[in-house]
């Protein structure tokens, strides 16, 4: 099936390292996404930089953000959005890395040959009506139509309204042709764990969902009770207990109702009694700590600006059969990050309640427990927030799969960082995502929702040639993610890809931090319509920048991408 995000226009993605190598990838080459690497002299960087300068001078490129490089001193990344006659070009971006004096590299996905009329024929209100009809959203839901130039799969460009809103437990993004009113493209931007189908101001000790798993719950005193408000870390982390009220959850996530102080999870005894709060609140903090310590990354946006709102108990297990399953499934057997969807545009992470004890997933035979039970899941959702404020990967097709892959990689990495032991047991670190939440119940079932160390164990691809090319799950974002995340695994542990038969010499578990840092740097400095090829180039370049050319880490990452069929 054709990828809806396929770029037909002249789109060049360049990752150019000063004086070393550059990679040019043409994403308009068809579904295979073939790419090539070739050495480029310094002149290429200067030429491309000059082109960006020229586009900036004519306002075809506009600086959106500047991101400090937390790993190489003095470096920073400038994100520039492409505009055409004052209208943003969807997916048109450039990321320029500078050292304060010179441009060191450029990663760009810029579109050439745009020639369209930018005067809409369809009004924003009419476009909103089309959105409402198509998604089932309430008519009064603000969808904020934004005029964009939308690259089409056939290589042409259309003027379109981009609209998005939370509808039920999804966040549809719809592009309505501003000339004809036709729906040009749509996908769900709710970044989920899996495709829908599970001691004063100070700290209390609370037991997690796994028995006897004691942990410290950073909390604040409010009146006579403790509230799940973390004042020990540089950002605000608040955990809200919606007490199983689906209607309130829906209203809060939809941005219609503000989270109140009375929604904060609270506790009156010296030991936190709700294990769901203890796990969820604590694991978000642990994830913050992981990114901070490993990558120097502060919060979602890197600057501790964005607060984190965590929602637990969005529904009650006992109410499972009260609702239309399709309306509430994500609140039971999923977890998701919802960027700026709160009443005050706060970022919200919602963790599903899991299933009643006598239920299991028919396709996997797994029981589904609370989603906060697994640190890898909590860190996965948190990582979506990091992606949102960095590469902002379009949650569809390859870029969406990379979004998921990054979250899985960071999820297991946080687990390795925080857990005292490695292994297959509960609370032990391994490469299974969601081990404590997805547990075998029926014969033959296994732990976890994805296994990035052995994707085939849960039916996911380990090679680019095995990727899913349909439209379900936004183009298989939760399936194809394992192609990239398996490369991450191979770069650390080494091994042989079962499909390609190619072997990789990993850097070893003792050096996992090198791979984690290289992937973090690479994945957070991509453009929003990144491809696997761009991810390969960016992570290899990051390894060079961080550890030098020709090092074992660079070799391992290069071998790993090659083994999974990404060039």
């Amino acid at each position: 099936m054709k990828r809806t995000s396929r770029l037909i226009a002249v789109v060049s993605t360049l990752v150019v390292a000063l004086g070393v190598l550059a990679l040019a990838q043409r994403t308009g080459q068809g579904p295979t996404g073939a790419s090539r690497m070739f050495p480029v002299p310094d002149q290429t960087v200067r030429d491309l930089d000059a082109r960006l300068d020229a586009m900036e001078s004519t306002h075809e490129l506009r600086l959106r953000t500047t991101q400090i490089d937390t790993m190489v001193a003095g470096r920073r990344f400038e994100r520039l959005d492409q505009y055409y006659k004052g209208v943003p070009v969807f997916g048109g971006e450039a990321v320029r890395e500078t050292d304060g004096v010179a441009t060191r590299s450029i990663t760009s996905s810029l579109y050439n040959g745009i020639a369209i009329d930018t005067t809409p024929s369809v009004s924003p209100a009419a476009a909103a009506d089309i959105f409402t009809t198509a998604t089932g959203a309430h008519a009064w839901v603000p969808v904020n139509p934004q005029l964009v130039v939308l690259p089409r799969p056939d290589g042409r460009f259309v003027l379109a309204y981009r609209m998005s809103a939370v509808v039920g437990h999804s966040m549809p993004v719809v592009f309505v042709n501003a000339k004809t009113g036709a729906i040009e493209r749509h996908y769900d931007n709710m970044q989920t764990q899996q495709p829908t189908a599970l001691v004063g101001n100070g700290v209390l000790v609370g037991e997690g969902l796994v028995a006897a798993d004691l942990k410290k719950v950073s909390c604040a005193v409010l009146g006579t009770s403790y509230t799940a408000q973390d004042l020990m870390r540089p950002i605000s982390i608040k955990t809200y207990d919606l007490k199983g009220s689906f209607s309130r959850t829906e209203s809060v996530v939809g941005g219609f109702t503000a989270l109140a102080t009375t929604d904060l999870a609270s506790n009156t005894t010296s030991t936190w009694t709700d294990s769901v709060v203890a796990d969820g609140h604590t694991y978000v903090g642990w994830t913050y700590d992981y990114f901070y310590t490993r990558d120097g990354w502060k919060g979602f946006d890197g600057n501790n600006v964005r607060s984190v709102s965590v929602i637990v108990h969005p529904v009650k297990r006992a109410d499972l059969n009260t609702y239309n399953w399709s309306d509430v499934s994500d609140y039971y057997q999923n977890a998701f990050f919802c960027g700026q969807c709160g009443y005050h545009y706060e970022d919200v992470i919602v963790f599903g309640e899991g299933l009643p004890a006598n239920y299991y997933l028919p396709d996997t035979g797994q029981y589904v427990d609370y989603f906060v039970a697994a640190l890898s899941i909590v860190a996965h959702e948190y990582a979506h927030g990091v992606t949102t404020y960095t590469s902002n990967l379009i949650y569809q097709n390859e870029s969406g799969a990379l979004d998921e892959a990054f979250s899985d990689m960071m999820g297991v990495s946080a687990n390795f960082y925080q857990r005292a032991t490695t292994g297959s047991g509960m609370l032990q670190a391994d490469y299974i995502v969601g081990k404590e939440t997805f547990r075998p119940k029926q014969p033959g079932s296994v732990f976890g929702t994805r296994n990035i160390g052995n994707p085939a164990a849960l039916g996911d691809p380990d090679h680019y040639s095995e990727r899913y090319t349909g439209t379900d799950d936004n183009g298989g974002v939760h399936t194809n993610s394992t192609i990239a995340s398996y490369a991450f695994y191979l770069a650390i542990e080494g091994g042989t890809d079962q499909t390609s038969g190619l072997s990789v010499t990993g850097v070893g578990a003792a050096n996992r931090a090198q791979v984690e840092r290289a992937f973090f740097r690479g994945f957070t400095t991509m453009t929003s319509n990144a491809t696997f090829s761009m991810a390969r180039a960016k992570t290899i370049q990051a390894a060079r920048d961080l550890y030098g050319a020709g090092t074992a880490i660079e070799t391992a990452i290069t071998q790993a991408w090659t083994a999974v069929g990404v060039f």
């Binding site: 700290v203 000790v205 942990k215 020990m232 700590d289 310590t293």
Partner: protein
């Protein structure tokens, strides 16, 4: 072995004192006249007995200490003091922080003065004062819980300046042994009252400052001088050499010990050992006993005058 000897020292002194008292009692008994048993016989009464002549003072014998008193002044070096530790613990972010300060055993210098008055034969009683002080570098180590994680403490360690001073009032029973007219050995023992002034860490004196991500802890040590009085014991020996009848030099060795439980609010008191082996030397002054008055020779009676008329 040394302790055993020291332990027997006061006993020996007491025995010596007891023997001396017993001997005096026997002598007093021998001096008493026989008591009358009543008029049994009718023999003519003897003329009333005259008052017996006073018993001549006992002539000093070889080995007797004849000085009336003494004054010893010493510079002092105290060694052999015991090291001690000050443990602390306090609740810290749902766990318990623990720390211990170690105060090393170091020598101290000071001053000692004592004086005594011979009360009987070789036995004297006296009192003295000993003042010593020392400055040390104490060490601390501790385990400070991470505010955010169970069982991931930050280990801290460091040093701080500490001082200690002792003032001891020593009550002494002394037994002098004149080896020669110029050489005197004095054995002494008795209780001591120590006033110990010790620098200790205040309650939760390890002031912990730790910012996110709390993977290290900065410690500021808050200290305080605390005083405490304790009772102890001391015993030793002094050897003096006199250049003249009153002035000499000498050396002294003493072992004194007490333990002062210095209080720390909210924390266990700190058992600060006081005393130790003390070696000193300095000036010796003895006060000779007053010489007995010479008997007065009666003036010869004038010769009777002759009457020639």
């Amino acid at each position: 072995m040394r302790r055993r000897v020291l332990a027997w020292l006061p006993v020996a002194l007491c025995v010596m004192a007891g023997q001396a008292l017993a001997q005096k009692a026997v002598e007093q008994k021998a001096d008493k006249p026989p008591q009358s048993q009543g008029p049994i016989r009718t023999a003519p009464a003897k003329p009333p007995a005259t008052k017996p002549a006073p018993r001549p003072p006992r002539k000093p014998q070889k080995g007797d200490w004849t000085d009336r008193g003494y004054l010893f002044v010493n510079g002092l070096l105290e060694t052999g003091g015991s090291a001690f530790t000050q443990p602390q613990s306090w609740p810290y972010f749902a766990e318990t922080a623990t720390a211990a300060a170690s105060y090393p055993s170091t020598s101290a210098v000071g001053f000692d003065a004592s004086g005594g008055y011979r009360v009987w034969r070789n036995l004297a009683v006296g009192a003295g004062v000993t003042v010593v002080s020392r400055s040390t570098t104490a060490a601390y180590s501790g385990s400070i819980p991470n505010p955010l994680y169970l069982n991931r403490p930050n280990l801290v360690s460091g040093t701080f300046a500490s001082s200690n001073s002792e003032t001891a009032i020593n009550l002494q029973a002394a037994w002098g042994i004149p080896v020669s007219p110029k050489l005197l050995v004095v054995l002494f023992a008795g209780p001591s009252i120590f006033t110990v002034k010790q620098t200790v860490i205040q309650p939760q004196g390890l002031s912990v400052s730790s910012g996110y991500p709390y993977d290290s802890t900065t410690v500021t040590v808050s200290i305080q001088d605390m005083s405490k009085t304790a009772f102890g014991f001391g015993a030793g020996a002094d050897v003096s050499y006199y250049f003249s009848k009153t002035v000499g030099v000498g050396g002294m060795i003493r072992f004194a010990r007490a333990t002062a439980d210095v209080p720390v609010n909210g924390q266990p008191s700190v058992g600060v050992p006081a005393g130790g082996f003390q070696i000193g030397g300095g000036l010796r002054i003895r006060f000779a006993a007053p010489k007995p008055a010479k008997p007065v020779t009666p003036a010869p009676k004038p010769a009777p005058k002759k009457n020639d008329s």
